[in-house]
Structures are given as structure tokens and as C-alpha cells.
């Protein structure tokens, strides 16, 4: 009788140990690519973006290496300063500035105006800054305007990056706000984003993102490091 009680006890101990071992946190396999989310890093980057862009932009090899442009309806902006990282060249908008910045540069208008700029200047990265103030009405179709703008960049070998505006109420109660629209378009187009809630952090985040894109999408030595020279916008 004593032996059988001891056996039951032993079985229970062994079973509970096995259960505990099964419940213990396993060492997670190391992620293939760094994961950055908007709420923590202030920009998005992940394996899905890398894989999508490796298969399109990097493969096309159409762009001029280490060049980038910043444009969109939200530029120029005194709160967003664009600092050019070491080893990179900022592509000026020149004769395209009127159509690629300011109120004319809605995503729908960008679709008409961007192709010539992309074909001529061949930037490697194109950062698109959306509206930075409330008031404009958004529409159901706007998500496609944003997504197709990103696709357009990819078609010309440029890697699109969307600025994500702070959330402000949509002018139309039924419509989605711009932050949601651009975020959803970025997911659909598999392109990275940078949060513009703290515009003073824009350049720092862009440089971090550029370094990740160089390393993982273009698979080359990282040159993007912050420097002091400033172009466009205001000072941080």
C-alpha cells in the first residue's frame, strides 16, 4: 500500500514537472529582420516590408544609389527639418517643387506629377509627407491614392516611405481620419512609415530607417549616419 502511494506521488511529481517544462518560456528564435513599430520606435520596419521591397525595388536597381527626396502636401514644413545623413544625397525637387509640395501635392495629384520626377531624378528613397493640419475631407478612395502613390514609386525603382500625420478628427464624421488611411495604405503597399507626432524626431528616425533599408533591403554596407547639415524645412 505504501509503495503504491509513493508511486502515485512520484507520478504526480513527474507529470507536474513535465507540465511546468512545457509551460516554461522557450527561447524564441531570433527574428530574421528587426521589427520596429510606430508606437515604440516612431517608425515601422519589419520582415514583410523587407521581403516585399527586396523583390521589387532592390531587384529593379533603377535608382541612383544613396539618393533621397522628401515631398508631399505636408512639405515644406517649418517643424520638419530634413538632415542629410553621411554618404547620402538629397534630391532637390527643382522645377517639380510646385507640384510635388504644398497644397497641389494631394496624393491624387502626385500620381500625375511624380512619374516625370522619378524618371528624371531616380531617387532611391522617396519620403511622402501628408497633410499636417485638420480640415481636408477624406474619401473612401483616398486609401487607393496613397497605396498607388507608393506602388508608383516602386515601379520607378524608388522605395516609398510615408509620413504618418498626428490623428485629427476627420472633417466628415463617416470618413476615416488621415492617419488611419495612410497607415492602412502603407500596410497594403508594404512600405515603411515614420510617425510625425513629434516632427523634431523626423530626421533621426529617417536616418535609422535608412540604415535598416541599406542593410536589409539593399544588402550593402550602412552609410546612413546623422550629420549636422540641414536641407529644407526648419531647424530642429
Amino acid at each position: 500500500m505504501k509503495w503504491s502511494s509513493a508511486g502515485v506521488l512520484l507520478s504526480l511529481i513527474l507529470a507536474s514537472s513535465a507540465f511546468a517544462a512545457a509551460q516554461a518560456p522557450k527561447a524564441e528564435p531570433k527574428a530574421e529582420f528587426p521589427q520596429k513599430v510606430l508606437e515604440e520606435a516612431g517608425f515601422t520596419f519589419n520582415g514583410d516590408i523587407v521581403k516585399a521591397l527586396q523583390g521589387t525595388v532592390a531587384k529593379a536597381g533603377k535608382a541612383n544609389k544613396n539618393t533621397f527626396a522628401v515631398l508631399g502636401i505636408g512639405m515644406p514644413n517649418k517643424d520638419i527639418s530634413v538632415k542629410v545623413p553621411t554618404g547620402w544625397t538629397y534630391v532637390g525637387l527643382k522645377e517639380f517643387a510646385k507640384e510635388l509640395t504644398g497644397s497641389a501635392a494631394t496624393p491624387r495629384n502626385l500620381l500625375a506629377a511624380l512619374p516625370e520626377f522619378l524618371a528624371k531624378e531616380k531617387p532611391e528613397i522617396v519620403v511622402i509627407i501628408p497633410d499636417q493640419a485638420a480640415g481636408r475631407k477624406t474619401s473612401d478612395a483616398e486609401i487607393f491614392d496613397w497605396e498607388d502613390t507608393a506602388r508608383l514609386c516602386v515601379r520607378f525603382g524608388a522605395l516609398p516611405v510615408f509620413g504618418i500625420s498626428p490623428s485629427f478628427p476627420a472633417a466628415d464624421k463617416e470618413a476615416k481620419d488621415l492617419r488611419t488611411i495612410v497607415s492602412e495604405a502603407a500596410i497594403a503597399a508594404q512600405c515603411p512609415t515614420i510617425d510625425l507626432k513629434a516632427p523634431s524626431q523626423f530626421s533621426k528616425r529617417l536616418v535609422e530607417l535608412m540604415a535598416l533599408l541599406e542593410e536589409h533591403v539593399y544588402k550593402r554596407a550602412v552609410t546612413a549616419k546623422p550629420v549636422q547639415a540641414a536641407t529644407g524645412g526648419g531647424e530642429e
Binding site: 491624387r108 500620381l111 500625375a112 512619374p115 516625370e116 524618371a119 478612395a141 487607393f144 506602388r151
Partner: protein, 412 residues
């Protein structure tokens, strides 16, 4: 400081004036001469609102020539689904004064469940009984009869889509038809049915059906096109110029040649066809380029029409690609340019894409070639899943007829 104040005052006046102007834009009505009619679908031609269920002329006693035949839903249940398109309601109208009516026929008695969806709030429902069996029954109710969590539809919301389910009394799936789906404000739908029927009779020469003439064209679509051209008045357009985007990269030139060759057979002449291009000289064509390069080409070519050809590969790609086509149709219409759409040949995964594209064309008024019907009698029309030269010739002849018909009717 004084100047700044004056400037600010002027700016605020301009903003207020702009807002007032924006507010004054009248809401869409399917029959502008009957502003009380918020939505109507008699399922007469290709441009109907339904996404599930098919237009049928099997029911000889239907209130109008054609009706909507329900599709199978679950076990013996039948249903239809659809979109209200540009009809927006209640949009601050009193929901208690918004009336909904449709006629329904079933081979068995049963229960009718009505579902109206608001994209944010969710689905509002109401239930009715069908007791006549093999006879047409008119169902009429108010918008406030529809409930979500026992709450009625608020005034400041918009309904986007509908579903009507029929659950039969017996154990077999019945045949169910629906017709004359009408939503009105402030007075009951039956007051307008006669006038609508008369108007539809008058416009019979405008309407074209994919199964008969090879392309879909409706009175509502014609009105929508006229409205689009009116709001884009002043935009620079090159008369009789047609921009062409082929179904595959580099196919545009081949379609242009086919259109030019088809002219005498279609008895259509006087149009200039321009193939879409890219500023980097790369080959252009297919849905991806419709999405990305259409606005650039519209600006460059300044056409009156844009012919969009889609391939089976476009239609078979994963996802709701027809939503992206809708955005492209809107981009053209916004500039007063009329899109003419050639969907891919039917078959396989492309069928869902074709259905979605045809539905959006109907909503927006864009004439749409019924590729399947057009190539059906044509020998050797297909090369694998795509159009062969004889098939392309046939759809080009129909596309030219669609362009001519559209031009004749929108410019009336």
C-alpha cells in the same frame, strides 16, 4: 497689424464661402427630376447594384422586364447582396420618413430578412413574411424599422450596402426573384413607380445590355457621365482622342492597331487612339499600370475617353483588385474623361474580378464591354486564358460602338 487683421478676415470669408459652396452641392439622386427617390434598382441592365444574385428575364410576370434572381446562401436559404453606390441615406433626413420597398417572388412561402450595413456602426436588420407563394408580393417598411441592438438607424449616418435573405418554409431551396427595389424620402415609393416605369420606357433606346449589344449602358450611368462632364467643365480635352491602356505591358500599341482596323467593321471613324506611355520608356499595360500611370497619361494625352483593357492575369491576382479599378475609374471621371472598360475573358479566378468591375462600372456610369458575351460566337477567340487576335478584334469592334454610343448620348 491692421493689414494682417484684414487679411485674416478676408481669408475667413473665403473659407466660409467655400464651405457654403461645398454644402450646397446637391446629393446624388438616381432621377434628378424626382429628388424624393433616394435609390432605385429595377435590375434592367448590366449596371445594377447587386453583387450576389443575377439579373434574369425568366420571370415573365415581374413588375419590370428583368428581375434579380437570388443566389444560394446557406443550406436551403437564398439571398442577394448589393451596394447603394452613390445613393446616400438617411444623410440627416428623418429616418422615420425614409421608405423602403421591393417586390419579391418565391416558389415557396418563407421569411424575408433585410440587412442594411453602415460601415462603422454595423448591420441593421428587419424581418418580414412572404405568404403568397409563386406570386409577386410588395414589401414596404420604414428605415426606422431596421434595428441594431434594438436601436433604430440614426439620422446622421449612411447606409452603404444591403443583403436580403429568404428562408423557405419547406425543406428545399426555392427560386426567389426581387424587383423594383426603391427607397424614397417623405413620401411612399408606390407614388413614383409609374413615373419611373414611364421614364425607363422612354430611355430604352439609350440602354444597352452586355448579353445583347455586347456592352452595358444605363440611363443612370448616362446621367452620371453627364454630371461628371459637367463638373469637370473647362478641363482641356483633345476632341475624339482615346487613350488606350493594354491588358499587358507593351500591349497598348497592339490594341491601338486593332481599334484602327476595327473601325470600318464597327462603322465608327474619326477617333485618334493614343497608347499609354511611361516617362522612363518602359512598357505599359495591365492593372498595375492603370493604378500607377493612368493619371500621368490622362494629363499628357488630354483624351476624351480612356479605354482600359484588363487581362486574365489582372483578374486572377489575389485580393479585391476591382476596388482599385473603381479608384481608377473615379480618377478619370473626376477630370471629365469617360472610361470604357474591357474586362478579361471569363474563367477561373477572374470571374469575381469581372463581376466587381462590371458592378462599379454600373455605379459610376462607365460603359463596360461584356467580353464573355462578345467572344462567345467568335472562333479561336482565346489563346490560353487571354484574348487571341480574333477575340481582340471582336472586343475592339464593341468598344468602338460603346464609344460612339456614349458620345452620342452624353453630348445630347
Amino acid at each position: 497689424m491692421m493689414r494682417l487683421s484684414i487679411l485674416a478676415l478676408l481669408l475667413s470669408i473665403i473659407v466660409v464661402a467655400a464651405e457654403e459652396k461645398e454644402e450646397k452641392e446637391p446629393p446624388f439622386r438616381p432621377f434628378p427630376e424626382m429628388p424624393e427617390v433616394l435609390f432605385f434598382d429595377g435590375y434592367e441592365a448590366g449596371g445594377h447594384s447587386a453583387s450576389k444574385g443575377g439579373v434574369s428575364d425568366e420571370q415573365a410576370e415581374a413588375p419590370s422586364r428583368k428581375s434579380l434572381k437570388f443566389a444560394s446562401y446557406y443550406q436551403t436559404g437564398m439571398h442577394c447582396t448589393g451596394s447603394f453606390g452613390r445613393s446616400k441615406f438617411p444623410e440627416n433626413l428623418n429616418p422615420n420618413q425614409v421608405f423602403i420597398q421591393f417586390s419579391i417572388w418565391s416558389s415557396d412561402q418563407g421569411k424575408i430578412n433585410v440587412y442594411f450595413t453602415n460601415s462603422k456602426a454595423g448591420v441593421y436588420t428587419d424581418a418580414h413574411q412572404y405568404q403568397k407563394e409563386k406570386k409577386w408580393q410588395t414589401v414596404t417598411f420604414k428605415l426606422t424599422d431596421l434595428r441594431l441592438n434594438n436601436k433604430p438607424v440614426p439620422a446622421d449616418t449612411l447606409m452603404s450596402s444591403y443583403e436580403i435573405r429568404f428562408t423557405p418554409r419547406g425543406g428545399e431551396a426555392p427560386t426567389v426573384y426581387m424587383d423594383n427595389f426603391c427607397i424614397t424620402a417623405n413620401s411612399r415609393p408606390e407614388l413614383y413607380m409609374g413615373k419611373i416605369a414611364a421614364m425607363q420606357g422612354k430611355t430604352a433606346d439609350i440602354v444597352r445590355s452586355g448579353s445583347k449589344e455586347g456592352f452595358n449602358y444605363t440611363q443612370q450611368g448616362n446621367d452620371a457621365l453627364k454630371a461628371a462632364l459637367k463638373s469637370a467643365r473647362g478641363a482641356k480635352r483633345r476632341p475624339n482622342t482615346v487613350l488606350v491602356i493594354g491588358g499587358k505591358p507593351g500591349e497598348g500599341e497592339a490594341v491601338v492597331k486593332a481599334l484602327q482596323a476595327a473601325g470600318p467593321k464597327a462603322k465608327v471613324s474619326g477617333y485618334t487612339f493614343v497608347a499609354a506611355v511611361s516617362p522612363d520608356q518602359s512598357a505599359v499595360g495591365g492593372l498595375e499600370d492603370v493604378r500607377t500611370l493612368l493619371p500621368y497619361n490622362l494629363r499628357k494625352a488630354e483624351p476624351e475617353f480612356v479605354l482600359m483593357v484588363f487581362s486574365n492575369a489582372d483578374g486572377s491576382a489575389a485580393g479585391r483588385n476591382y476596388d482599385a479599378v473603381k479608384a481608377s475609374l473615379e480618377r478619370a471621371l473626376e477630370q471629365g474623361i469617360i472610361p470604357i472598360v474591357i474586362p478579361p475573358p471569363p474563367g477561373g479566378k477572374a470571374d469575381s474580378f469581372i463581376g466587381g468591375v462590371m458592378r462599379y462600372c454600373g455605379e459610376l456610369g462607365a460603359p463596360c464591354v461584356d467580353t464573355g458575351s462578345v467572344i462567345k460566337p467568335v472562333k479561336d477567340s482565346m489563346d490560353g486564358a487571354e484574348l487571341a487576335a480574333p477575340g481582340l478584334e471582336a472586343v475592339c469592334i464593341t468598344a468602338l460602338q460603346a464609344i460612339k454610343h456614349t458620345e452620342a448620348n452624353v453630348k445630347k
